[in-house]
Subunit: 121 residues, 2 copies
DNA sequence: GGCATGTGCAACCATTCGGTTGTACGTTAT
DNA sequence: ATAACGTACAACCGAATGGTTGCACATGCC
């Protein structure tokens, strides 16, 4: 499975860049939302006040970031959310937090030394 | 505690924007890394080939995003990582994935149906 | 066929970004 | 006091962003 293939720096740049826009986060959220179904680009565009082309470009950015896939269906393109990429982004953040916690357990040892041995983790 | 205060759209824009750069992710990673200690701006800058001013601006971006804090100490500014913000970013991604999973449980019900529901929307 | 719809793409524009160099200023060291 | 260090900030530059309008083209409907 391709699931755990970790992303290049450029991939991560694109991923977080794609998430760094309120409109794009909203598009992703609505695609993933409970009652929501995959929607065509124009259906998505109808929700926002900007031009169709602007929304189309947002979707393109999301697609390049891998957060979304586009599937041709007749004359329209059906857009689906891809939670896999979300998970990968989350994994990176978790890894960073993990580094932090590892650092802390080491710090705890130092702080715990002079006095109460409390508990060893 | 301020832990669960959820961030504004602008805050999230800044947060993910800050993470959307390899150099900045590297800075955060090194600040959080196991053996690492809080470092001055120039110490951090020494690790990269770009100018000091460039790194200083990266740190400023990280600080505005809340991923890092700067504390004056003599003539230098000590930079520390802030895992709290990391956790908040992760929480948003988790929430989006949560939406997805909720959607799936509904979809599962549909798929588990003996035959395709004829109701066309 | 002819027309409306859905999409993509190019050109353009203002703003922001990531980088540079240079300057100013407070702090530390000699 | 003077020099060196650490930081901040401004001005500038090329490239990328986020938006616009307009046009081309394929598909679906009469």
């Amino acid at each position: 499975m391709v699931a755990h293939a970790h992303l290049s720096d450029a991939d991560l740049d694109r991923l977080f860049r794609a998430l760094a826009d309120t409109t794009r986060r909203d598009i992703v959220a609505r695609l993933l939302a409970k009652g929501a179904e995959p929607a065509s680009v124009s259906t998505i565009a109808a929700r926002y006040e900007m031009s169709f082309a602007a929304v189309q470009k947002h979707v393109a950015v999301l697609e390049e970031a891998g957060l979304v896939t586009k599937q041709p269906k007749g004359r329209e393109r059906i857009v689906r959310g891809n939670p896999e990429r979300l998970a990968q982004a989350r994994a990176l953040l978790a890894r960073l937090e993990g580094l932090w916690r590892a650092r802390f357990s080491q710090l705890d040892a130092v702080l715990a030394e002079p006095r109460t041995p409390k508990e060893k983790s």
